[in-house]
Symmetry: C2
Subunit: 341 residues, 2 copies
Amino acid sequence: MSNAYNRPDQLSPELRRRVLDTARRLGYPGPDPVARSLRTRKAGAVGLLLTENLSYAFRDPAAIGFLEGLALACEDAGTGLLLVPANPEREDVASVHRAGVDGFVVYSVPDDDPHLAAVLERPVPTVVCDQPDLGTVDRVGIDDRGAMYELAKHLISLGHRRVGVVCMRLARDRNDGFVTAERQHAAHFHVQRNRLSGLAEAFSEAGVDWSQVPVVERFDHNMASGASGAAQVLDKDPQITALVCTSDVLALGAMTEAARRGLRVPHDLTVTGFDGIREAEAAGLTTVRQPVLEKGRAAGKLLLDSNERSRPRSVNLATELIIGKTSAAPRGGAEERWFGP
Amino acid sequence: MSNAYNRPDQLSPELRRRVLDTARRLGYPGPDPVARSLRTRKAGAVGLLLTENLSYAFRDPAAIGFLEGLALACEDAGTGLLLVPANPEREDVASVHRAGVDGFVVYSVPDDDPHLAAVLERPVPTVVCDQPDLGTVDRVGIDDRGAMYELAKHLISLGHRRVGVVCMRLARDRNDGFVTAERQHAAHFHVQRNRLSGLAEAFSEAGVDWSQVPVVERFDHNMASGASGAAQVLDKDPQITALVCTSDVLALGAMTEAARRGLRVPHDLTVTGFDGIREAEAAGLTTVRQPVLEKGRAAGKLLLDSNERSRPRSVNLATELIIGKTSAAPRGGAEERWFGP
DNA sequence: TGAAGTGACCGTAACGGTTCAGAACCAATT
DNA sequence: AATTGGTTCTGAACCGTTACGGTCACTTCA
């Protein structure tokens, strides 16, 4: 039977035809993929776990780029891509247990996410992306810390000393407001933690007391968050000359808030982002470009040819500092601001 | 055993603990999802089939919106979403046979796509989207024909009589060039066929000989196609006053070509799109807005509560004609063009 | 004291394929 | 006639789980 469908050379054409005929006559719908998977121990799909609601993957430009790259790797291998629903609100990891996949890609979830723990318990190869190196599974990412350090050096060389920061969520709990040094240091999101730490290091080296720098966190990642975060920072210290955002989306939001306040970018305020999404390029944003598509593709490749016996691999992709037209030297003295718009 | 994991109430806490303990000691990785699926006849995932390479889904704005809506419906139901790799170049439908899913959503594939045929043979509920009503499975879509008819009426009322068209691929074979009446009529993509037919009807009613209207087809769907398609139409008949594109992406590309030629939109040339994507709104494009996200969500909902015994449902969502700033009455006489730039 | 009732626990039969060993068959060689 | 070799075909084991019915001990009530 199975042979008739999958191994035509194993039997005579006549028998094959007869088998297939009666199969059709009996209304047999063809081999059941699940039963086949059980026997062959191959699901023909890889699972993708992300920190956010499933639909978030289609709203965030960087996530979309990552997905596109991952999808490219999958279709090259003829593998399906299963988006695993992992509601971050609930601790329900059943969806991870239920996923019939040959491996997992985990994209930017908090270190202590129960879904991640559930994935690691599954006896299938796993690639984590934008996560700390666990030592036990493959990893792909960038040098977030170094890239942000370089961006900060750029701002410092322009003369910025009084800055503010808007960052994405740092942990699973919602904290829309200022961030303590404590919380910065203990952030559960690898990416955010390292970007902040790169910033802190560069500015500390330049003699800035980092503990005095206003850092505002936003749970939701969209332009509105960037705008309101920027507002909160600017309210706290109107004299900052540069606003560093840990993502382009936040930075684009911050730009709208600056415009709303009549602050000209970069003349009155320097704004920087991170990611290098298309919209940022169009806006001429100073940012760090990271190869999101390549990241997805690399993750897929790593997963799909994981030789059981190779030690966990760790891949760092290159980033590029993009100096756009949203960064410039600060205006003369801060007191000038009194005569500003 | 199974009970220890899934049915804590069926056994004493003490035994449960003991079972789980020894399971851990023996290195038992938890119940196998594939075997579970086989037994329970539930895969916990729905499959998505689209006409293009998998990664296309993440490049096309309308497809992204659809996916987001579908993902929303899935996460509401706690279901996974499996992207089925269906390379349109190859006739290989194995990926459809291999997909362990509880149902399929088919999004905008050609009528004669072998993958679609393979899906229909699978004994699982299916929802087709942007496809003709097959009568046997659920369908969700819009009134492409009516919406385009309405758009055409708008152009006609502005005074346009000499127009050109750039459309997306009409069949599985690549035909980057002019389209015969034959090919328009026999188009295998339901959406394109109906949009063209709505156009043809409206303009025919207005006394235009549709067989003389230049219609250009592009296989790849991106802005570059829109630009080159516009170029081809304008080369053929420089005197057209309006360029109708069957998607916003094509229209945005057409706008760049118009700009390159020094044609001011809408003063020298009216350009219209279809879909109502964000970028079109930003550009002030005259277009038909369709609720792509709702379409995805509706498809998911339909699939996820498909009562076995209900007759196939057909859902048409409402569209809205958006009159932007890329459409206006044609300039005086066409001969004026001779003094143009 | 015995019958009936209640839980907790256990054993087994599918689920629907794939795989592989070996049976059956036929032809050719010794 | 018996051995060998090769091909085609059949049957059974296995993949790992869940559903279900049955056993067993223990309680309750007449």
